[in-house]
């Protein structure tokens, strides 16, 4: 369960969001430049809010009142970047293993098999390729595997379909939904596309100029 209330002054407006999501898919919907991606970076700890709090499974990750600000390394939050951000100088295998070599993860112990995970995403045969040799959809799948292999307690997805053609996108959308049911952790997904939002979102938050305009529960979920 994720609970957050955040304020961040940006140069052209003040971002104010309140979120609450159980093990569901929460979609942040809005035009580009409205503060959706910024919200994700605030949650992940890549950018510091001015005020507010973030709680994940009753653990405080950030609190301006309590002067708590956990670094992104210890937040247990997976992040799927819009451009995938796969390390270009590493193979698919090295990319996916990267998170497993972190001290924190090695101490945690329990392990998923990276090869199995890649196989389940249909990209197991690409394990020795470099990111530049992958298609857009393959990159997204590898990036998903890389983010999930460290078993995050929350997954943030920034416009995961923006670089994909229609067919790939529809396929990946369904896979994401299946994946969510399997993982049972909250997903926060950013998109500007209403159709994606309606298809995926259990709840939809519409943001405009940094302000939450509308909270809605998705009843016609596919």
């Amino acid at each position: 369960m994720l609970e957050a209330s955040l304020t961040k002054k940006l140069w052209h407006f003040t971002l104010k969001v309140e979120l609450q999501v159980d093990n569901q898919i929460l979609v942040l919907l809005g035009p580009s430049g409205c503060g959706k991606t910024t919200t994700l970076t605030l949650l992940a700890g890549l950018f510091k809010p001015d005020d507010g709090y973030i709680k994940l499974n009753n653990q405080t990750l950030y609190s301006s009142a309590g002067k708590i600000n956990k670094p992104p390394q210890s937040r247990d939050i997976g992040y799927l970047f819009q451009n995938c951000a796969l390390f270009p100088h590493m193979t698919v295998r090295q990319n996916v293993f990267y998170g497993l070599k972190s001290k924190r993860y090695r101490q945690a112990g329990s392990a998923l098999d990276p090869v199995e995970l890649l196989d389940s995403f249909g990209v197991g045969h690409l394990i020795d390729r470099y990111p530049s040799q992958l298609s857009g959809g393959e990159k997204q799948r590898v990036a998903l595997a890389r983010a999930l292999i460290v078993q995050p307690k929350l997954l943030l997805l920034d416009e995961p379909f923006s670089a994909l053609d229609r067919k790939t996108k529809t396929g990946l959308r369904q896979e994401l939904k299946r994946l969510h049911q399997q993982w049972q952790i909250p997903f926060v997904l950013v998109t500007h596309d209403e159709e994606d939002a309606r298809f995926l979102g259990d709840a939809i938050v519409t943001i405009e100029n940094g302000q939450v305009r509308k909270h809605s529960l998705n009843v016609v979920s596919a």
């Binding site: 970076t41 390394q73 951000a85 100088h89 070599k101």
Partner: protein, 224 residues
């Protein structure tokens, strides 16, 4: 040309040694400093940046004069060092210092451009995967900035090898002790030793060409 066996190889050996040590110092100081400067904004950054780049545009004689004011017998640090019984001027250490100061801005400029070209999302992704900042630097930032840093390395080495003006002022031209290829060429020409001058010119030109050629070839293969 004089026969190689009869030639005094001291200036050649000293030049290469000075250039290698200066390149190592510039790399060890310059790369971390540049990484810091490329990612952080702080008060006085522009000022510091201008100061770092200055030796690149100043006449070498001005750099040499400045170094004498610092490490000369009556210089700011020179006096302290003299009390400890250490003299830097007119030793080959002074040649290393001169080469380091003059070549530093070249590494700074190349490495800065290289670090700025690394997409910040890669570092952010590594952070969300739990990697420490040190690990991120060595596994993500540095490998991705490597071609630019390598270019800086070559420029630094070439500049250090060719340093003349500042070296002459702080290290002098003592044959066998502080005489480098560039100073040896100058004094060979001045005293009419054309054959020696020509030989040294050929050596330094061929050597520099080979280094740059080889490094460029190698860097080409490293691109992703």
């Amino acid at each position: 040309m004089v026969f190689f066996s009869e030639m005094d190889w001291h200036p050649v050996i000293l030049s290469v040694r000075v250039a290698i040590i200066a390149t190592i110092i510039v790399t060890c100081l310059g790369v971390p400093l540049t990484r810091f400067m490329a990612r952080k904004e702080f008060y006085g950054k522009d000022f510091l940046e201008a100061a770092i780049t200055l030796p690149m545009v100043l006449p070498p004689s001005v750099v040499g004069y400045g170094l004498l004011m610092l490490i000369g017998k009556n210089g700011l640090f020179g006096r302290i060092l003299a009390d400890m019984g250490v003299t830097l001027v007119f030793t080959w250490y002074a040649a290393v210092i001169a080469a380091t100061v003059v070549a530093f801005p070249l590494m700074y400029q190349s490495a800065k451009a290289a670090f700025m070209s690394v997409d910040l999302d890669f570092e952010k992704a590594a952070r969300t995967l739990g990697a420490s900042e040190v690990r991120i630097f060595f596994t993500v930032t540095l490998p991705l900035a490597w071609p630019g840093i390598l270019a800086g390395l070559v420029l630094t080495f070439a500049r250090a090898l060719g340093e003349f003006g500042a070296t002459l002022m702080v290290a002098g031209n003592i044959p066998g002790l502080t005489q480098t290829i560039p100073t040896a060429i100058y004094f060979a020409v001045e005293s009419g030793k054309d054959v020696l001058a020509r030989t040294l010119v050929v050596i330094i030109t061929v050597f520099s060409f080979c280094v740059i050629f080889w490094v460029n070839r190698w860097a080409k293969k490293q691109n992703y």
